[in-house]
Symmetry: C2
Subunit: 450 residues, 2 copies
């Protein structure tokens, strides 16, 4: 039944679309017909709800862990079994994160055959579907993030993205098409897919039971803690990549969609918590790019590389990463900027002649010209940090030079404040005073009137 | 000798400059002549160094505390005296921060007579000069921050800004001119200035000694701990506003000059540590604008307001504060942006005709046109997160639509990456393909050659 040679695997294919993507087709059910109506075409009612539930998944995700919890009441947790369960937890977790996710779904590095087998075994031990099924859906998730075609869109609710999408049947036509020709060419992926149930029972239950049983005589503990309860924890943890990572945290690279970065998600998911980065740079073998962030999956892949078992580790150029960060900061800043009052636009102000400006200032208006714009500083004289005398001395004058360093080089904040006091624009701009003086001193300068 | 009426105080004035500022002139030394040569005009040598030292200040800042430290060896610290010394520390510290600094130097609020007397007494108790002298120098410091005219410029070294400027004589002509007419009109300021030595001895030493002595019989402890050592701590703490606050921390509002925000400085200086904000908005009665920042001086002023002892508390409009913050962030961002590679500028690229583009793509070049620009994706095909098939299918074509949502709505990061792959500009821009197709289908569209 199983074939481990990649070239001649007779994979069931849907019609191939010209761009190389295909509808997702399970390899086991040859009779499956995409054109037949699907149960999800009908609304959920009191009489058909049981047809909407995916009972197999419900059994694996909810019923079995419940049994395990009850069983743990009678089964004593031994010290050695506890240690083993934790180690096996990491093994099966890495199968999902380093294997299913970063290797197969995103091809972010290349793995040698032994490493592939190790990861496929770990993936099976965590009971979350085959690598082929998982990666195919995950590619749809990236391509159609947050849309109707996203298999686990967080827009349908946190619980839906966490496990609702597995517990309820999904219409395979709804889920976005992706190109998985590379997975169909991967012998380990195809073998694991074809022998999925066998692999799961062996890796998830038989192996932990045997290790604890033959190792230190704790068959029951191995089954309950190393098997069932460990499965439950790994599942809930890795499900968080689809739920929590699209719900909790910051968006340093892109805020168009839901993916977010948060250290809590990272702690829970063996480092998959920097999910905003990951959706932006999915083919990077890292999820965390800072050394101090928690990404054990990255450390694992790096170690495999040192051991010669992994190679071609892909990273996005740092320049591109920084560009993304800068642009997102810019976006946030622009948003903030647009909520502030930056003063009356110059084109909305009346144009005032120099003589009018001087005249009004003599008649009690506290007007000061700076850079061709007239400002009413009346309400500010008493509050001026530089004292009343200096600011009052500039009334009715062009204070461009004194304001900009002649007497005091005012701060940014002072320039901002000034812009809120605008009342008019000088006809002819800020050089008007110099020009007027030149004119009165040097009679052959021609007066130009506009 | 003392006059408490403000209108007829015969204050010694230097020549008044037309803008209302004056050189700083001590009120006590009537004989003082600004035109005489000053010791600081001569370089420090082995023979004249003692003339450069300001022995009075050295005595108050260094000798007396040293004596106190030695004396504390023989004087037992009593519980009640310790409590009193801490309270008296806050009283004298607030005299400087709420009094000398925020009230008199910056007029950031108005105080009733009892509060003024309280603050002037506290200021005297901390032995840092008179309010008039301190405020005048402090105004120079704000107006000429970091320049030669700044009395305690941090550019001359951290130690200089901390106490070097007091221990060494200063040329009064070097220090920037400021307008202190309002201080000369303030009766409390003038009285304290005229009776400075008396005030200091009373408030800094006599009062603490008497309180501890008459209160619980600890004359010696009152003198050593409540007096001398407490003075030392208050001095060192408040000196930090001139040194540490210009040296340690962030610059969220302006980075042209040295002032910085840091919580450590705030903790040491009764809240004066948000000094970047303060230099930008000096007439704000607050230094910390967030509720969770440590600014007990602000809380003190606010409490005085509730008690009816302070009024006209000035704040800068929040809009102006946010504008300053946004602009500084923008500045930082622009700096970061300029260090990154944003791809070859379009004007530096060769112009390629559509036919050449198609031709070259057929002859092995992996060229893709997006938005009128030709990109060489050859080195990226194997790394493309969306798979080889999709990206290859666009070679030799205009992929503007598929790239921008037709097949996949690429992220910011993808657009950035694309810009690094530029090799040419299409003659006629991105509509060229549509136009060519229209032309071949509809012969009456005219071919325009440029
Ligand atoms: C026209 C409207 C004016 C506005 C809105 C304004 C605003 C300000 C502000 C906000 C400060 C605080 C420090 C800073 O942010 O840089 C300041 C300080 C100062 N201003 Fe003005 N100013 C104006 C006019 C003037 C004029 C005309 C003069 C001089 C002729 C002047 C002289 C000074 C000086 C010397 C300081 C420094 C005082 C200190 O920081 O202690 N200002 N001004
Ligand atoms: C022309 C140069 C191209 C560049 C530089 C590029 C770059 C990228 C990048 C960086 C991603 C990762 C996700 C993201 O950042 O949005 C991506 C994903 C993708 N690209 Fe491209 N792309 C190119 C061309 C194309 C073309 C022509 C197509 C389709 C005809 C395509 C289809 C896709 C798809 C479907 C994905 C989603 C895969 C996933 O995230 O799992 N790309 N591309
Ligand atoms: Fe995701
Ligand atoms: Fe992913
Ligand atoms: Fe300062
Ligand atoms: Fe200040």
């Amino acid at each position: 039944m199983a074939s481990s040679s990649s070239s001649e695997v007779p994979v069931a294919q849907a019609e191939t679309f010209p761009d190389g993507t295909t509808d997702h087709v399970p390899m086991r059910k040859r009779t499956y017909d995409l054109r037949k109506p699907h149960i999800t075409d009908q609304p959920i009612t009191w009489t058909n709800w049981w047809q909407h539930v995916n009972w197999l998944n419900t059994y694996f995700i909810i019923v079995v862990p419940a049994i395990g919890l009850v069983a743990s009441y009678w089964v004593n947790l031994q010290y050695k079994t506890a240690i083993f369960a934790v180690l096996y937890y990491f093994f099966s977790g890495l199968g999902i994160t380093a294997g299913y996710h970063r290797l197969w779904a995103h091809s972010s590095y290349k793995a040698s055959l032994p490493l592939k087998i190790f990861l496929a075994a770990g993936g099976a031990a965590s009971v979350e579907g085959s690598a082929r099924w998982w990666s195919s859906l995950h590619r749809s998730h990236h391509r159609y993030t947050d849309t109707e075609k996203d298999p686990y869109s967080v827009r349908k609710g946190l619980l839906y993205s966490h496990l609702g999408w597995m517990v309820m049947k999904q219409n395979p036509r709804r889920i976005g098409r992706t190109d998985i020709t590379d997975l169909n060419d991967d012998a380990v992926v195809v073998w694991q897919h074809r022998n999925y149930l066998k692999s799961v029972i062996t890796m998830a239950l038989v192996v932990p039971t045997l290790i604890c049983g033959l190792g230190w005589g704790d068959f029951a503990g191995g089954f309950v803690y190393g098997g069932i309860l460990r499965i439950f924890f790994v599942q809930q943890a890795t499900f968080c990549v689809n739920s929590l990572a699209h719900w909790l945290g910051d968006q340093p690279f892109d805020d168009r969609n839901s993916p977010r970065d948060h250290v809590i998600t990272a702690l829970v998911t063996l480092g998959e918590g920097y999910h905003n980065f990951h959706h932006e740079f999915p083919s990077d073998f890292r999820n965390a790019i800072e050394w101090w962030q928690y990404d054990p999956t990255k450390w694992f892949i790096w170690t495999m590389k040192q051991l010669g078992l992994a190679y071609n580790l892909k990273t996005f150029p740092q320049n591109e990463i920084e560009k993304g960060r800068v642009q997102q900061l810019q976006k946030k800043l622009d948003k903030q900027r647009s909520t502030l009052d930056w003063g009356a636009p110059l084109e909305s102000l009346p144009v005032v002649s120099w003589d009018d400006f001087v005249e009004q200032s003599k008649n009690g208006k506290a007007w000061i010209a700076v850079a061709g714009v007239i400002h009413d500083v009346g309400n500010f004289i008493a509050d001026h940090p530089g004292g009343k005398a200096l600011i009052s001395s500039a009334i009715g004058k062009d204070a461009t030079a004194v304001f900009n360093g002649g007497v005091y080089d005012h701060s940014n904040g002072a320039h901002n404040l000034l812009s809120t006091m605008r009342v008019g624009v000088l006809r002819g701009g800020c050089e008007v005073e110099i020009w007027k003086r030149a004119q009165s001193e040097n009679k052959d300068v021609n007066a130009i009137t506009d």
